[in-house]
Amino acid sequence: MSRDRIYAMLLRHYFLTTHHLERFADLLIFPIVGLVMWGFLANYIQVQSSSLAAFFLGGMILWVIFERVGTSIGIDFMYELWEKNLVNILASPITTVELIFSLVLVSVTKVLISFAAMVVLAILFYGFNIFSLGFMLILFWINLILFAVSLGVFSIGLITRWGHSAGPLTWVLPFMIQPFAAVFYPVRVLPQFFQKLVWFLPISHVFEGMRYTFETKMFNSGEFFISLGLNVIYFSMAVAFFTYMLRGSRRKGTLAKL
């Protein structure tokens, strides 16, 4: 991998962000407004259960991380289509791996900025410190980001093949996963059929594992490793899918017309 080429893509998205006000909204305003709303809800719930309130707020912050990483990879890729720049980039020496890696790096960088802002504001306004849940939980967060990355890479595979019309899936895919992700309620409240289905979702293991840690103060290595294993499979599948779609698009000649 070439550092220069990856740096070029980071630079491209840095410049893009400085010229697009709506990207600041994506970076800070949406996460902060979400935090404010869920913060008030947590305050209201706190009267009945302080631990539930804390989990609500923590769950919301982590969900935003997941959603931002997943959608940001797709949106950043879509900018190349919107600006008719994809061919310029793909005609350069950049490799598929470098392209994916740079998109992931851009989205993780952005989400770290959003995360930092939300953590600080949650402490300041709601007295909630997400790190009080335990630093071991960071391992779960890595799993969360990995799954989001897989979803993002999968969505750019769809965009590569079907172009603009597949773009909205970037936002829809995380939204469709949310009811089954066990973010705000445990898996056991889901109907039996869905309980079996969500076993295959790494994100549900992340939130179940975190919930376990939160209740027992012990790290749930079982949920962690299941989630990690599933992530390895999904990430490999997502990269293979993107590569396959990119090749298909090159074969059919649709890439040049995206």
Partner: protein, 262 residues
């Protein structure tokens, strides 16, 4: 096609799409420092060929060599010495010219990238527009901005796909002078497609004419004029040659040409 060592060699290139053959077993080469005009009517297969050269479209068959290397096997190192410019693709609209060029300089791993960006801006007389956002540039300025990007890595092989389509004659004239100047200074090899025959006459050493995915004529502009129009021609007249050749229908069974023109 010149005596110089070939920088670009295309052998038996084939590209089929679902319902038609866009490039049908074509072979040509471009020597070092040569400008090859790559001509043909709309849908002839020019852009598909260029997209195959760039790797944006995957070929079905044949071999593409640049600098003696198989592009399929050495894409990264080859593409560092190649660039291209097309009126169809503009630089990202919301970035300034300088920002765009810096991104591309890094993408092509140009040493001393910032210095090179300033050099290119100077060469193309765009220094005063360095902080202008691309969408604020005029059509002609955007074409020059595209040239800046195409030259950022000092390419040894430059692919120009109708770079001055829809430009006014003044802009085209300036563009042509610019290409001549750069080619002379940098000894650049250029593959040039255009529908403006005057452009090709001004710059091309040789011409390949493609129709229905097949090469149907090649030679210098004057040779082609003599071959297709009049043996005694003293000046090239590619416009008439273009019309003549475009109206020829390929005879599928014999591989020869059947004239169905005017």
């Amino acid at each position: 096609m010149t005596g110089n060592a070939p920088i670009l060699e295309v052998k038996n290139l084939v590209k089929n799409f679902a319902t038609y053959c866009a490039v049908d077993d074509i072979s040509f080469s471009v020597g070092e420092g040569e400008i090859l005009g790559f001509l043909g009517p709309n849908g002839a297969g020019k852009s598909t060929t260029i997209n195959c050269l760039l790797g944006v479209v995957e070929k079905d068959n044949g071999q593409i060599k640049m600098f003696g290397l198989d592009v399929a096997k050495h894409r990264v190192s080859v593409m560092q010495n190649v660039n291209y410019c097309s009126a169809e693709y503009v630089l990202p609209w919301n970035l300034t010219l300088y920002e765009n060029l810096l991104v591309y300089a890094k993408l092509y791993e140009v040493k001393k990238a910032k210095q090179r960006v300033l050099e290119v801006l100077e060469e193309l007389e765009m220094t005063d527009m360095r902080n202008t956002i691309i969408r604020s540039l005029s059509l002609g300025q955007r074409a020059r901005a595209n040239f800046c990007k195409a030259l950022i890595n000092r390419p040894k092989l430059l692919l120009l796909d109708e770079p001055m389509a829809s430009m006014d004659p003044d802009v085209v004239d300036r563009g042509i002078n610019l290409i001549k100047k750069i080619q002379k200074e940098e000894k650049m090899t250029i593959l040039y497609t255009s529908h403006n025959m005057w452009e090709i006459e001004q710059v091309a050493d040789n011409v390949v004419f493609i129709n229905h995915g097949k090469i149907i004529a090649q030679g210098s502009p004057l040779e082609l004029t003599r071959q297709e129009l009049a043996l005694e021609a003293k000046e090239p007249n590619l416009r008439e040659v273009f019309i003549q050749l475009s109206r020829k229908k390929l005879s599928r069974d014999s591989g020869g040409d059947k004239d169905v023109s005017r």
